[in-house]
């Protein structure tokens, strides 16, 4: 199975995967989203603060007349529990992480980040570019001028070739869209500084009211100093790129996941290939009800587990009753709510 990453599908205008917020494999609304959880594919929410957000797919997007690109969705962070008192180590942000193999073409070059933002809270916000080793940060300020209005922001910087950027399939360049940051994460703007910092002291607290919304759309990271009009990829291509990091299969009754055999009267062992090769051996989770379809009939699976995970496939093991050892079978979903997800996020 071919490995799929940004660096091997041809010349790229945008080094951000799902910058158009079109792929939402995990769902479209995430109430009380936890830190380190994902909403739109590839977009991770991070916080260490009392603030509570609902992350969701929003159809409020920049108009085609404004952006010269027709988006369908933006990513919305809606404050449901405000945090007006920012502690020194508090922070809340959206994080996008690039793989080393996709960061390598950017190292030593000027890069330009552009995006559309619509926020209730006006004032100074920050973007922080970091390396995975958390040893360097580059903070750039931008201003939300008008409340609840789509505005395009652009910024250019150079990734120094003197720094160590991983060149493999682990995380390398990380981009934080900061909503709030305590003084422990403050540093100077427009220069590479040591350590992992997220904002300048000018950063507003965009989490201080339940009236606050923050929408992000059309995020693009390009080589060079010019921010071009947002260009989307084919949906199939964008989805496949996302599936390198996360795949959700099923959600249809009797959806087949993998074929195998009943190695005893109680155990089914099967093989489930992934849709595309994943970044690394993924974490695999089952949700819902499953059964094994075998010659003996439909055998309800009392438990399902996964072992021998590889980027290309995983071994399924299901516990059943009433099986006949030696028969073949297929693990299937028992209803439209069952699914198996594989995660290889950075």
């Amino acid at each position: 199975m071919a490995k799929l990453s940004l660096s091997n599908i041809g010349p790229m205008d945008n080094f951000i995967i799902n910058g158009d917020m079109g792929i939402w494999q995990r769902g479209t609304s995430f109430a009380t989203i936890a830190s380190a959880a994902f909403s739109a594919d590839r977009w991770e929410y991070q916080k260490s603060a009392a603030v509570v957000h609902t992350a969701s797919q929003s159809s409020d997007v920049p108009t085609t007349a404004e952006s010269n690109h027709e988006s369908t969705y933006s990513l919305l962070l809606d404050v449901t529990t405000a945090d007006a008192a920012v502690g020194s180590t508090d922070y809340a942000s959206l994080l996008y992480s690039l793989e080393g193999v996709d960061t390598t073409p950017l190292v030593g070059h000027s890069i330009t980040l552009s995006f559309w933002v619509k926020a209730t809270k006006t004032g100074t916000y920050c973007i922080s570019f970091n390396n995975k080793g958390d040893t360097k940060s580059y903070i750039v300020e931008y201003t939300v001028n008008t409340t609840a209005t789509w505005e395009k922001k652009t910024m250019t910087l150079t990734l120094p070739s003197t720094d160590t950027w991983t060149a493999d399939t682990t995380a390398s360049l990380r981009i934080y869209f900061t909503l709030m940051a305590g003084t422990a994460y403050h540093n100077s703007a427009d220069t590479w500084v040591s350590g992992l910092d997220l904002a300048t002291s000018n950063q507003v607290n965009a989490c201080d009211s339940t009236a606050n919304d923050f929408r992000l759309a059309q995020v693009q990271l390009e080589l060079g100093t010019r921010a071009s009009v947002f260009k989307s990829r084919l949906t199939a291509q964008e989805l496949a790129l996302c599936q390198r990091y996360y795949q959700r299969l099923g959600l249809v009754a009797n959806s087949p996941f993998g074929a195998g055999s009943l190695i005893s009267t109680t155990t089914f062992i099967g093989h489930m290939p992934f849709i595309v090769s994943m970044r690394t051996s993924p974490t695999v989770t089952d949700t819902g009800n499953f059964h094994v379809r075998a010659a003996a009939g439909t055998l309800t699976a009392s438990s399902v587990s996964f072992g021998g995970s590889r980027p290309e496939a995983v071994q399924i093991e299901a516990t059943v009753t009433g099986a006949t050892a030696g028969q073949g079978g297929t693990l299937r979903s028992s209803d439209a709510n069952a699914y198996i997800e594989a995660a290889a996020e950075l």
């Binding site: 936890a34 830190s35 380190a36 991070q46 916080k47 260490s48 603060a49 180590t89 922070y91 958390d134 493999d168 399939t169 682990t170 422990a184 994460y185 992992l196 005893s264 009267t265 109680t266 970044r279 690394t280 051996s281 993924p282 974490t283 695999v284 989770t285 089952d286 949700t287 010659a295 003996a296 009939g297 587990s305 996964f306 072992g307 021998g308 995970s309 009753t321 009433g322 099986a323 006949t324 050892a325 995660a343 290889a344 996020e345 950075l346």
Partner: protein, 124 residues
Amino acid sequence: MSKMIVPTYTYKLMDSGVRRSDGACIPEAESNRDWKMYQEWLAEGNTPEPQYTEQELIDKAQSEEIGQLRDELRNVVTGQFEMMLELFKLLKQFTDCTNADVDPAILEKAQAWTQKLARLKEIS
């Protein structure tokens, strides 16, 4: 950077990797972020649960035993049906009779045995 607020999990050993308390099966892969979190959890002095509890081992063994006994019982029943049908054929041969000469009740039983035998072979 201070530690993120992330859910607190426990872990259980598997044949390979570990199973997290939310059901996720985490492979032993250095570049898997969940495996890294597990390593950090271990470094904090935590200990994973064994793959099977004592009760789970007992349940597993019993379940296997029940399955084996069921297979053996099926083989015994199949053998008995085959034997009875063979005897029925032999009886007809020795007595030189046709189905018309046989008591309809016995014939009915023989037909039922044939059907049951076919069904047992089908599902075995």
